[in-house]
């Protein structure tokens, strides 16, 4: 009798990957969507059972084909992996379940099976990145998920998505190729691709130049994928012109997985081994994080298009995660990692509400948004709730991450005071752009020509799931025990490599 639990790490990747080509064969209307949603929920169930296993004190190590670790391909699932797996599978399931009507209106019925197959490949690729324990598999899965996500982003009717996807493709491929150069240089010096083995072998060759160059290439490559501040230019257009459901999915998880790889690589392989790398990591990434927070939020304040506003807000939130990681302390890492979870909830709820608005409004800019709350009170309510979590109002999930971030910054003395000012400034700017939306939707009279377009609320299934996401943002702000346990365990294990 096969013990299913031991094979869960492999199943997490294989279930979406093997069922993706089968979805292409499902031609009848709506069947492709149903199959994709079912597979996504199955992946979510696997992630939840992996979580329960990890919280019960387990660490899943899996060897593909029973080849022992440095020679064979190993998979590893620990607290950090499981947190990101939950985010990926939950984001995919929520986006699929909520946005059926939105997807039906944006993608022609004949192309839907291909679109949904690409969706499952993105899920498989992202889950693969997270469970893989060796560097080259991370590259392969990173490219699988990226290529499939280019298909997703280009899937909608808006033709401006095409130049956006081209830019995303070029920048994403350059990022992945830099990462490939980095692991090639490491392989040249250590002879291994397995992360744990690298950690041991890199001691002897630590200060030689190829390793330093490799660290640089890997950091920049992953920063390109993660949309860290100056390399974020592909993100706003890609999120704005993608189909609304795709924005919900990608905004919640795509860049976070690249940050996951960055943190794993830095803390497991580089930090303890390179003289002064701790300072280099923080000194290099902290200013970029600060700039991301300030500039991302500032641009969002002046942006007229709703989706692009929240895309720039995402750039700022990635800055928060990176700020937490670059503080290299227990509190800081916990803050950064738990923000991965909280931001996914908040942005998921916000982009779902935007998708609800898109079902009734012709354009998603402030002119058409005026007075929308009169006709769509529930949608705007969910949007405001998600926005409160972005700002970090106490009681919402966003507050937990900001709190830990402030506590981590307090440990740093004068630099910490500056960082606290940056964090507060970021929250204030988020307050400004959320207030802009609230003022336009609730307090402005609808213009004459746009009034006729809004005809009632969004479809009920979409609304229910949007509110579920927004309320879970509230729930995890009041009862953060599970994500907090996972984040602290993750931070502890990452810092444990530093000893």
């Amino acid at each position: 009798m096969i013990n299913l639990e031991t094979h869960l790490p492999a199943l997490q990747v294989l279930v979406p990957m093997l069922l993706a080509p089968l979805v292409i064969l499902l031609r009848p209307r709506g069947l492709a969507w149903a199959a994709t949603a079912a597979v996504s929920l199955m992946a979510f169930a696997i992630a939840v059972s992996l979580t329960m296993g990890v919280m019960g004190g387990g660490l899943y190590s899996y060897e593909m084909g029973s080849w022992p670790a440095p020679y064979g391909i190993a998979l590893q699932v620990d607290a950090f992996s499981v947190l990101v797996l939950l985010v990926i599978t939950a984001a995919s399931s929520i986006a699929l379940l909520a946005c059926k009507s939105s997807l039906d209106s944006e993608i022609e019925a004949t192309r839907q099976p291909l679109f949904y197959a690409a969706w499952l490949l993105v899920v498989a690729g992202l889950c693969g990145i997270v469970v893989a324990a060796d560097a080259f598999n991370i590259f392969v899965f990173m490219e699988i998920s990226s290529l499939a996500s280019y298909v997703l982003v280009a899937g909608g009717p808006d033709r401006r998505a095409l130049p956006a996807v081209f830019k995303y493709l070029i920048m994403g491929t350059i990022g992945a190729t830099f990462y490939l150069i980095g692991i090639g240089l490491i392989y040249m010096m250590t002879g291994t691709l397995n992360l744990a083995d690298m950690e041991l072998r890199i001691h002897e060759v630590a200060d030689q130049r190829p390793i330093l160059v490799a660290a640089g290439f890997i950091t920049i490559g992953l920063a390109l994928k993660a949309a860290v501040f100056p390399l974020h230019v592909w993100l706003p257009n890609a999120y704005t012109y993608a189909p609304n459901a795709v924005t919900v999915f990608l905004a919640a998880c795509a860049t976070k997985v690249a940050l996951y790889v960055l943190m794993r690589f830095d803390f497991v392989v580089f930090q303890q081994n390179l003289v002064g790398h701790e300072i280099q990591f923080a000194a290099f990434l902290m200013p970029l994080a600060v700039l991301a927070i300030l500039i991302g939020s500032a641009v969002a304040i002046f942006e007229p298009n709703l989706k692009r506003l929240f895309a720039y807000s995402s750039v700022a939130q990635i800055g928060y995660i990176l700020l937490g990681a670059s503080l290299v302390s227990m509190m800081g890492l916990t803050a950064g990692i738990i923000h991965i979870f909280n931001h996914a909830l908040a942005k998921g709820a916000i982009f779902l509400a935007v998708a609800c608005l898109a079902t009734r409004l012709t354009h998603l800019n402030f002119k058409h948004l005026a007075g929308a709350a009169r006709q769509m009170p529930w949608t705007m309510g969910a949007l405001v709730l998600g926005g409160l979590s972005l700002i970090g109002v106490p009681g919402t999930a966003g507050f937990i991450s900001k709190w830990y971030l402030v506590m981590a910054a307090l440990e740093r003395g004068p630099l910490g005071v500056f960082l606290i000012l940056v964090i507060i400034a970021g929250s204030l700017m988020a307050l400004v752009y959320i207030w802009r939306i609230v003022e336009t939707a609730y307090f402005q009279a609808p213009g004459a020509q746009v009034n006729a377009q809004i005809s009632g609320e969004a479809p009920l299934p979409m609304l229910v799931i949007t509110w579920l996401t927004a309320l879970s943002s509230l729930y995890f702000g009041l009862v953060p025990s599970v994500p907090l346990w996972l984040s602290s365990a993750a931070a502890e294990s990452l810092l444990g490599h530093l000893r």
Binding site: F139, E143, Y150, A154, P163, I170, I174, T177, Y187
Partner: protein, 118 residues
């Protein structure tokens, strides 16, 4: 002389930068994709170079040969995978360019930006 002996790496660096320059500086989308292909080919060269062992031959077992020095087969396998990834990326990129041509009527980046601005 040591520096000239490392000419494989100079070629890698030159190809990398030529490809990167093409991606950044050229306005025609097809030329950008060609640059991307050059960029990736440079990385393949890096891996193959590092896999070659002095006096090493192709890593295939043969009957009767006992003391043979083989080149490292692992980089070659990694590069096969990376080549496939590169082909998929180029194919997808070209598909996007075909669609851009259908929608915009041009494949020059500045003209596309002009059309979108209106």
């Amino acid at each position: 002389m040591e520096l000239l002996g490392l000419y494989y790496y100079w070629i890698f660096a030159a190809l990398l930068m030529i490809g990167f320059y093409a991606v950044i500086a050229k306005l025609n989308l097809i030329k950008k994709l060609i640059g991307l292909s050059l960029f990736q080919s440079a990385v393949f060269l890096l891996y193959i170079t590092m896999g070659k062992v002095s006096d090493g031959t192709a890593p295939i077992f043969q009957d009767g040969l006992t003391d043979q020095v083989f080149s490292n087969p692992l980089p070659q396998v990694l590069i096969l995978t990376a080549i496939v990834v590169g082909i998929s990326t180029t194919a997808l990129g070209l598909g996007v360019v075909v669609r851009i041509e259908e929608e915009y009527g041009t494949i020059e980046e500045n003209e596309i930006r002009e059309i979108d601005r209106q």
